[in-house]
């Protein structure tokens, strides 16, 4: 799957995440695709690695989806909750293709996260049809020498190790 996210779609996603962030007073919100690629973020990322969180959350949701499929559940719209001592994580499976991640302080109203997170997941699910349109379509890249420039950058980054 190849996905190119145009700016206008990115802004619609940001708007949904921002609304969820302010209404729930969550610490941060992330959106990833099911392969673990980070798509968008909102909120405080201090002390966390959003790319890593996206990869782990996607792996978690993919595994949970397979687990639920094994017990006869075919829905791709489930949610999963972890409540820790200080923080919690709510993961929303969006159509089996994307994952909404809400990280919140434990004093946050959990019911609000569940309710508004579910609403945002529904809005993102509706938008995912537009995502699909951008999958596996030819994209444009500003510089045709990207490959050569990248090779130079790799040589600089790892040159002495090759």
């Amino acid at each position: 799957m190849s996905l190119s996210l145009p700016e206008e779609l990115a802004e619609q996603i940001e708007h949904i995440l921002a609304e969820l962030y302010y209404e729930t007073e969550a610490e941060c919100i992330l959106l990833a695709d099911i392969s673990g690629q980070l798509i968008s973020t909102q909120g405080q990322m201090t002390g966390i690695d959003p790319v890593l969180i996206a990869a782990l959350a996607a792996g978690n949701v993919a595994a949970m989806s397979e687990l639920t499929r094994q017990i006869g559940e075919e829905s791709h719209l489930g949610s999963f909750l972890h409540e820790g001592d200080n923080k919690g994580i709510y993961l929303f499976n969006i159509g089996g293709s994307f994952v909404l991640i809400v990280i919140f302080q434990i004093n946050t109203l959990l019911g609000l996260v569940r309710l508004l997170g579910g609403r945002a997941a529904g809005q993102l699910h509706a938008l995912s049809a537009q995502f699909e349109e951008h999958m596996n379509q030819p994209h444009s890249i500003p510089n045709a020498d990207f490959g050569a420039a990248l090779a130079d950058e790799l040589d600089q980054a790892f040159g002495e190790l090759f």
Binding site: L5, E11, Q37, I39, V51, L52, A62, H139, F146
Partner: protein
């Protein structure tokens, strides 16, 4: 591949595949140990108490701006043990390129063949064509006595178009060459799509 035009990021996913104990995690450990901390994230391993990969290892490499885009490579390993087939398929989702880490020891040739078959099946299920997907064969553990000839491993692997590199991942030999080869293949493939 995921391109975010607002953030001008290009994200590519590379998966290290292969039989159990062939050295997939060792590749990532070496890359992590030797890379500049400014361009790499933490190496995260979801493993058993016995240090065997349970789900995947993950390492992120992020280079500076190139042609107005910031490339980010997300490196994953799969668990090699046969009964983790479902996990391997999940990790392979959305992969842009695969490094197949083969164990060069003669007694592990059958395990290589089995893992290559398993990889091809999973790629097909996920809608990839293993013949056209960026794929690199790494023949690891070349320092051990009595290893099989590379030509034999390559023939048994079956994907003749895949570049083949020799390595001793525990010492780092061939690790970065393999990484650079798969990155170049992935980017060349991406440019064809772009």
């Amino acid at each position: 591949m995921f391109i975010n035009w607002k953030l001008r990021e290009i994200n590519l996913k590379i998966v290290y595949y292969g039989p159990a104990l062939s050295g997939k995690t060792t590749n990532l450990q070496y890359i992590h140990a030797k890379s500049n901390p400014k361009i790499r994230g933490d190496l995260v391993s979801l493993k058993t108490r016995g240090d065997r990969t349970l789900y995947f290892d993950f390492l992120q490499l992020e280079l500076g701006q190139i042609a107005g885009l910031k490339p980010r490579f997300n490196l994953y390993t799969v668990p090699g043990q046969a009964y983790y087939i479902s996990s391997r398929k999940l990790v392979l989702q959305g992969a842009d390129g695969v490094v197949f880490v083969a164990d060069s020891q003669t007694e592990r040739l059958e395990a290589n063949v089995e893992a290559a078959r398993d990889m091809a099946e999973n790629l097909h299920i996920l809608g990839f064509d293993p013949q056209t997907m960026p794929l690199v064969l790494q023949c690891n553990k070349r320092d051990l006595p009595g290893v099989a000839p590379v030509s034999l491993i390559k023939r048994q692997f079956g994907f003749t178009g895949a570049p083949c590199l020799e390595s001793v991942a525990t010492q780092g030999n061939g690790v970065f060459d393999t990484l650079k080869t798969i990155i170049n293949l992935v980017v060349a493939q991406a440019q064809q799509q772009l």
